[in-house]
Amino acid sequence: MGRVGSLGRRLLALAVIWVLLALLVAGVALTDLFRRHVEADLTRAMEQHLDQLTAALSAPGQGAGRPLALARELSDPRFERPLSGLYWQVSQAGTVRLRSRSLWDQDLPGGGPVPADGALHLRRAAAPEGGTLLIWERRVSLPDADQPLDIAVAANAAALEAATGNFARVLALSLGVLALGLLAAALVQVRLGLVPLDRLRAALADLRAGRSTRVQGAFPSEVQPLVDDLNQVLADNADMVERARTQAGNLAHALKTPLAVIANSAHGMADAEGARLIAAETERMRRQIDHHLSRARAAAMARGAGLRTAVAPALAGLARTIPRLHPDRDIALDLQVPDGLLFRGEGQDLQEMAGNLLDNAAKWCEGRIRLSAAPAGPGQLCIIVADDGPGIPADRRAAVLARGTRLDEAVPGSGLGLAIVDDLARLYGGVLELDEDTALGGLSARLTLPRA
């Protein structure tokens, strides 16, 4: 996802941390709550056992001097099963007087005297069958006993731990599922939230590829100001380029009219050598103006974003114009340009390149010119201007692309035509190649340019 993706990952990482932390705290708190609840339940049950035991001890018929005995057995059968994990014990003044069968031949681990406040006291000790033993004790005074009795009931904590453990496992599973759900939701949220940024990225790609001149579409209020600013910058840039082009044109106009006056004045001068010199120099100045203006404009344009020109109308305009500019030649121009072909650049430059090639063809042809354009490979298009003229010998083709060369001075033209085309094509990262046309027999000029 590139740069936008790092923002997504950041949001996602925060969501992961937050969800895990929240669920962990919730899990710990819930487990603790559950444990307290189970412990309270156990405490209530054990208190009942203890009350039952106390009642059985203080039943009528037990007098002084008679051995301490239970009036009736406790209801829970586990007290009878050896090492069942549920025990009771009655002791008096540190001596064990009675204990449950479940204790078998052991006493509950001693824990010191029990406070005589009548309240229930809980302590922990090692269980005879292993594990932790929870022991509840209370000191009671029976009416016909000379010394108070310490009555204790005990339960192994394993059941409690098992219940808590089970609960914790189920809870962990539920919370895990919840975490996955929340993370999936966070992922969707981040993706959906970043969709406008992806759209912006696509719009910028369109801009760079020359498919649009501004960022299109409406964006959320967080992104829209950025888009508006960007469009403003693009508009300012386009304005600046337009102004620069107008000024370049004005400069050309301002220089060329005086040049025409100078050249024409020189023509009427008595000093033939001076006249020739002035004519040659004004011609050179004109070439320089043309050359550098077209270069400057194209350099500004080739880097500009969002430029695209429909090839078909631009070439059709030239195809209309060229035969009319050469009315004395009977030119049949065959135009083969598919609709929808787009040049990634300025229309003026496209016409400048194709126009110069066509003008050359019109000067040299016997009467037939073929102008064709087609997509050529990824992101490129080619324009081919072919004629049925004499062509250019293979060994001189490189020379005509050099500035100012003219193979035949008799045919009017600046001699810069092909060189300007070559220059402009290079500025667009394209290329001009000269070859012999197999169909018409004359020169074939092939122009490869970026396609939008």
């Binding site: 060329k256 009219t257 005086p258 050249a263 023509h267 043309d290 009315p327 400048e352 009017p412």
Partner: protein, 219 residues
């Protein structure tokens, strides 16, 4: 032949006028778009040299105005911005030829000659009528190969008749195409020119159509 030169630069305008009058054409000039539009719509020109970068009204819009009004005289566009985009725009607006500044005056004269010739339906640079031949490039007239010396006005009258052979040309039409706008016109002088031409050529090619005008045709 009468031309309109539209150019805002006074120096270049003067040079164009001088070169074209020496050709010889009758030349009117306009310094801006508005005046050019008016003159082109009201006066019968045989060709127009039109600069595009004009004050008050742009040259292309002037040209479109003329074509919309049905004026079909050939127009040579003269401009400093010689881009192909502008050439296409110019030709689409109704121009007949295009010349970028700076230009060689010979080239401008050659193009104007060609425009006028083609407008009259003449393909070759030399126009003939019987024994009379007019070399439009040099402005020379020969009868049976012998050169004949003519004044500028005589040449303009003969040139117009040669370019419109076989058609009856009224005296008013001839006057309009032989004199520039600011010239003190006198239609009687046309008769004088015709008389001199008949005498100098020595062959009977200029016919008088009574009450209508003149017609050039081989005897």
């Amino acid at each position: 032949m009468r031309l309109l030169v539209v150019e805002d630069d006074p120096q270049l305008r003067a040079q164009l006028r001088a070169a074209l009058e020496a050709a010889p054409y009758a030349v009117d000039t306009a310094p801006d778009g508005e005046e050019a539009a008016f003159m082109g719509e009201t006066e019968p020109y045989d060709a127009v040299v039109l600069d595009l970068g004009l004050p008050k009204r742009d040259g292309l819009s002037v040209l479109r105005g003329w074509r919309a009004a049905g004026r079909s005289m050939p127009v040579l566009i003269l401009t400093a911005r010689g881009t192909w985009q502008e050439k296409v725009e110019g030709m689409d607006a109704g121009a007949d030829d295009y010349l970028a500044k700076p230009f060689r005056m010979e080239e401008l004269l050659a193009r104007v000659r060609a425009l006028i010739r083609r407008a009259g339906g003449q393909a070759a640079a030399e126009i003939t009528c019987g024994l009379v031949a007019l070399d439009t490039r040099a402005g020379r007239v020969t009868v049976a190969g012998q050169p004949v010396t003519l004044t500028a006005h005589e040449l303009r009258v003969l040139s117009y008749l040669m370019h419109h052979q076989g058609r009856v040309i009224s005296r008013t039409e001839l006057t309009e195409h032989v004199y520039a706008q600011d010239f003190d016109r006198d239609s009687n002088t046309i008769e004088v020119f015709i008389g001199r031409l008949r005498r100098k050529l020595g062959v009977d090619v200029i016919h008088t159509e009574r009450g209508l005008g003149y017609r050039l045709a081989a005897p």
